[in-house]
Symmetry: D2
Subunit: 327 residues, 4 copies
């Protein structure tokens, strides 16, 4: 590979009411509002020195515009364009300055149809890590990963591992040996990008890393006292896969966000991916309530990088099965 | 009143397998095993200087033998006997030494049929509060309360408040003003004894107080790693009533135990009981998953203080209603 | 005794700068400001339904006006006046309304010269326990105790135990059997009032109870980010006596406040006081840095209930000794 | 660079009493004992899938044998040998199997004289991350970093950054612009290796990463209950540099170990090193007690990779200054 992807770096969400989103993400979850105008809010976690890791964009309909990866250097973008073009996948350049606080970006659709974006430069700002007087709610630290439903996980896996340089930390197979879900990483944590078999491409959730378990409990208390108790969709509980202690929330537009803490480092190149059988009870949640149906059935739609139209999802190749609890 | 009840002091449970219970309560929950013989295990929390607050007694069937209250002094027992006798309620003396580590005890049935026990003396032992090297699982600190389902909550309330000297911290009424549930206390916390409308008399659960919320999460992790993930019935979550952060577990025999932390002191005599309407959403759980059906429907049976026979339950007077989430 | 003291209920401090105090207590420690005018700030903890537990009163000099106890009922005040008068101790009535939000109060000096106050009625307000959106800093829950230096601990002990109905949970003796320090309670926790041998009468510190240890660490982080790192005088650490996890702070006027969590209930009348030898290393801090000299040497002065003059302290009867670490 | 160093991977300590060390590290700190024989104990953290990250080797004198780095692949070792040889630095091969559970290793002295070791292969074992029933004490997760005193920090910095491929996250300069301390990393955290100006080469401490702050407090409680309260040398407190919440302990032989949690990820290649002035109070501990003198003055000696003789230390180039609190 002639390029190096560093990490998942931001999510661009379309939301229908900026003020409602601000209350949820800033007052409820404790994100830092770096900047905003009447069409956008730019948010980051307390640890982040990048300008933002979440863009909320006012729109008529709640969708996901793009998932963004930071790369090591400018030239990587050209190499990545060549790769996508060679595969016959759509690409689109956005010159520096087109997007606020961003250098030149390359937008593409991956081989599952997910709109991705690559960039090397984003404005940097101060870490707020030691502004404890500003800590609120979940005290969100940094973006951790995105999780997408796709019809063909093996196809997505092959592309990300062979062409984009991702490694696999953990994965789930059916009894026949079909790949049902995979946790893939560039930064040395359990994942930057997970794929699960399902109608897609769809964004199942995006996730932020927290400092500890109590930040999740504090967030539940704060959300409940603000009238958001119904935004808590699943958890708190402990994942078997990844070992993370988790909480799933639905934002005012229905986008799903996971609060996540307690996975492990994956620095070692000789780390073996951990296999889970789809029927293995150990694959399921380590402990916690069953996920409600809507956790399985409701996801956010992506839009096309050129037309802005909502992307039509495909049914999954593998038989759809609802595990008792899936992570 | 010519006597003074101090606090709920112990629960005597019949269990079918002492070793299975020991593994759950000692290794899983972190209780201290003060003593045991081949028919009994005597357990206490880390803070308790009383010999035990839980007796597990080997039996053919899992039932509840008695709920015990500590009184201020020996003579109180005689006054309490007079009271129960004057009401036509069954009483029974157990001389000092009849029960291990206990002074003279008075057993009775209250006006709902619940088997109660009163005593002034129990052997004291060392607090293990500073033996942090022995802390395990939930790091259980001390017995907090018992919660009973009874057919007529008003009747139970009147007896405990007017005759036994309890105070009420919080209560739930139907829209017609019928008392549906009540939280009653002698020690200055939210409760020693709660009553809820339901088929009874039955023990819904007994509860232990913990130092903090993380003790509950640690307990979930430890139980899951020991293979007890299915013992977690409800929670973790936050109660609206009492404000406690909670977890409900089912022990190997199906007895329900609540891990409980975060309520408040009720020292002030001018404290007004807090009223909740049965239909008020604020009465429900502050945040957390819905309780499963079995949390509402399954309870432990009491046995008769004289015959040892299981006590037949009565249907509740008030229309049975399952709130979305009840505490 | 013909009266019943319920608990330590408030401290009235003279401070030189109300705004500096507000920033420290409200923004830094997370107390709720119930009300204020240009001469007073009335503060309470999140759990407290009493109007306030701390009064900050603007003055030329930082002193302690009075320590207040709540009693069970109005008539108790008259009985207490009789007691103090019979002992030849000064008493002074303040009619209802003289002090904001307070009923009739009786002010006295105890037999060590400490200005005490007794009252049955204080305006009640809403508990903020479930307003988690307002939680800040140390998330202070409720007033816990006061700790006074007096020249003759035995004399203070005798008066509080024999005449005022306090019980002793723990105490320290010299090798000769002289009482060096005592922890006395009315509400069933380790103490409402502690006495230590030293130049006095002086207030060593007043203390608030917190929900958990992390509230103390969060408070350190918040204070440091606000520029108050130097206000942290001692801790965090764990006391041997009482088992509490603690932090000592100095407010902008030098008054010492302890943040305190993790002691135990003292409900049982047959509880034996725990004796510590002054030379016993186990008496010392369970773990933690040594207390700095100023922790031993600096205390707050009381003022006379009639003249308002600062009370002259007396040297202690027992030889002054600085233990390696004292609680 | 033709090689890739992954991360700090282990410390090999000489200790005088294996059983005393086992009690401290296993029972007190909660490390997992992977294996041992009568001359060695091999320990790892709960998250580690490598066979060990700490070797305790029985010896007459307590010293540090070597600090080990994992590299990406076998051939990297040959390239590293070339580098050290080209600089005229001592190298020594230890064939696979010479050291238990290790592949071929290259030992060297760096340009400060520190004995380093590089390896690509170590036996892997199961992560114990989800064996919560085995969690004890500090619940140590994984090795985080080592911190060495050297006479010339600039010289060490240049070698590690220019020749070994390390990056700098934070550093301290004197007012004249001399480099006084540097935090250098290969894995994307704040550091794998820190250098401070002082008599050296010496090991100041090695550090383990924990999941959260309460693990540090729990460890203090457990150590104190085991009689190790005096092993706590400094903390708990919060570092300004790195933002970590910390505790410094001395093991039974006087080796210093830091328990460390709460720093941040350093994945981004465009991250600017954070400069601190030696006289800047902000450089000092964010909050916490002053470090005692022994924290500054006592360090562990290294031994020569060939002779096994203790390495003689040199006085530092820069004027020795004790900051009020140094991290």
């Amino acid at each position: 590979m002639d390029f190096s992807i560093i990490r998942i770096a931001r999510t661009v969400l379309h939301v229908t009411n900026l003020q409602a989103s601000r209350e949820f993400y800033v007052d409820g979850l404790g994100m830092i509002e770096t900047e905003s105008d009447n069409q956008h809010i730019y948010l980051r976690g307390l640890e982040e020195h990048a300008h933002h890791s979440l863009v909320l964009k006012k729109a008529q309909k709640a969708t996901v515009e793009v998932l963004s990866y930071k790369v090591a250097k400018e030239q990587d973008l050209d190499e990545i364009e060549k790769l996508f073009a060679s595969k016959g996948l759509k690409t689109k350049w956005m010159p520096s300055g087109t997007q606020h606080a961003m250098g030149r970006t390359l937008r593409v659709h991956d081989n599952s149809g997910i709109p991705l974006e690559f960039f090397a430069e984003m404005t940097t700002v101060n870490r707020m890590l030691q502004r404890y007087d500003l800590y609120r709610g979940a005290k969100i630290q940094r973006i951790d990963h995105v999780n997408c439903a796709v019809p063909d996980v093996q196809k997505a896996y092959d592309f990300y591992v062979e062409n984009l340089g991702f490694s696999c930390s953990e994965y789930t197979e059916t009894e026949k040996g079909d790949l049902w879900a995979a946790w893939l990483y560039r930064k040395p944590t359990v994942h930057d990008h997970a794929f699960m078999s399902g109608p897609g491409p769809k964004l199942h959730h995006f996730a932020y890393s927290l400092s500890d378990r109590l930040s999740i409990l504090d967030c539940c208390d704060v959300l409940a006292s603000m009238g958001y108790a119904q935004s808590i969709e699943r958890g708190p509980g402990r994942h078997g896969l990844s070992n993370a202690f988790f909480l799933y929330l639905r934002d005012p537009d229905g986008h799903r966000i996971e609060l996540y803490t307690g996975d492990y480092l994956t620095t070692d190149p000789d780390l073996k991916p951990k296999r889970w059988d789809l029927n293995d009870p150990l694959r399921q949640t380590f402990w916690g309530h069953e996920a409600p149906d809507r956790w399985f059935n409701e996801t956010s739609s992506f839009i096309d990088i050129e037309t802005g139209e909502e992307i039509i999802y495909q049914e999954p190749l593998l038989e759809q099965r609802k595990p008792k609890i899936m992570v």
